[in-house]
Amino acid sequence: MVKIPAGQLKPFWIRPKSQDVQPKPIEVSAFEIQADPVTNREWLVFVKSNPEWRKSKIARVFADDQYLKQWRGDLVLAQGVLEDAPVTHVSWFAAREYCESLGLRLPTLAEWEYVAAADGQKADATRDPIFLQKMLDWYSKPQDEKGLAPVGKSVPNFYGVRDLHGLIWEWVDDFNSNMVTGESRSGNSLDKDLFCGAGGMSGGDKENYAAFMRFAFRSSLKAKFTTWNLGFRCARGGNK
């Protein structure tokens, strides 16, 4: 596990009320996070001891029918799928259970974004045009569902954490914590009856397109959802 020192995260998803009033930064307590996403190899160890999470046995309330699609059987990967590739086609429930089985937990959204703000040289690279361009390059490249690369091959970031960008999307514990105003996809205007509390949010930091993409992606997720490029890693400690 990599130790991450305490710090602050600018909540890019909150629109500032005016130019001079910035939203209050989020305090992130010191915590620890895995250096790499969880792999197929590690998932195999998990399902060997936890048969109810196997592909053929999982309850439908916990995962959709694409669960472990890249596995040929309960304990066998499909042809061409690497043991050290990140495990994907896992739902939030399954990811959570895995972490808990090891006395760990999923990182919070704030923790994940905080660690992911770093490049190789500094803790906060979110204003660095080179860093931002790298993100956009990843998102603009068509991805291949077959053959996810093994974990741990990318350059570690400032903290020593790898693969936060360029490999997979990752589950966080509170993925379902962002309020979105009028989903443009559904064509609704803001429905005030939907939300209690502050309600209105939008991408406040227009330059950080990548973070906005993640924000939008997370808000489209359902807990039982699985897909080929969505995996996770575990964390512990902090004030979660």
Partner: protein, 186 residues
């Protein structure tokens, strides 16, 4: 003779004393969260199995939309008519919304415990799990106030979601129809 009796017991006793079968694969009663109910149950969620359930998530310190959620649920109760339904409200807030606090909340609003229950989460993770399973979006700020969506789900007697209101202004006709169907089916 003894041998025959022993064999008979070995074969049939397990069948006789076996508990109820597992709920369907997509039932919420597979969730692992710990909930204390105002009904006195320490397995508040699972112990609603056997009755149709109208379920929402609120917290008692909520001044804005939560009273409206209760009003909506009372509206559904009136529309549904007689039945063995449970109108259940699960809290986001393990710290303040203990089972005794929730019992008082129900009593203050004169909600009949024969049909109304409130569920207290053991910890944040239990509330997060139920929200995830029912499609509720929420977060907590530093002051302990929750921002949350107002979803109401209908569970059949086996805990499977059969209908859903995505907001307090959503059309309730289909929901009420299903609710009535569930009270007849056994």
């Amino acid at each position: 003779m003894i041998y025959l009796i022993q064999t008979f017991l070995k074969l049939f006793l397990p069948l006789v004393i076996a508990g109820p079968s597992a709920p369907p694969s997509d039932s919420l009663y597979h969730l692992k969260g710990k909930w204390a109910s105002t009904s006195g149950s320490t397995q508040g969620l699972k112990d609603m199995r056997g009755r149709p359930v109208v379920l929402s998530m609120i917290y008692t310190r909520c001044k804005a939309s939560c009273p409206l959620t209760i009003a909506k649920m009372k509206e559904l109760e009136a529309a549904a008519g007689k039945g063995d339904y449970v109108f259940a409200m699960a809290s986001f807030d393990p710290k303040n919304d203990t089972a005794p606090a929730l019992k008082k909340y129900l009593a203050d609003r004169k909600l009949d415990p024969a049909h109304w229950q409130m569920l207290s989460p053991n910890a944040d993770r239990d509330a997060r799990e139920l929200a995830a399973a029912t499609g509720v979006v929420y977060s907590r700020d530093e002051q302990g106030e929750y921002s949350h969506s107002n979803v109401v789900v209908l569970l059949d007697r086996e805990g499977v979601i059969q209908a859903k209101l995505e907001s307090l202004s959503a059309e309730t006709t289909d929901f009420v129809k299903k609710l009535k169907e569930l009270s007849r089916a056994r």
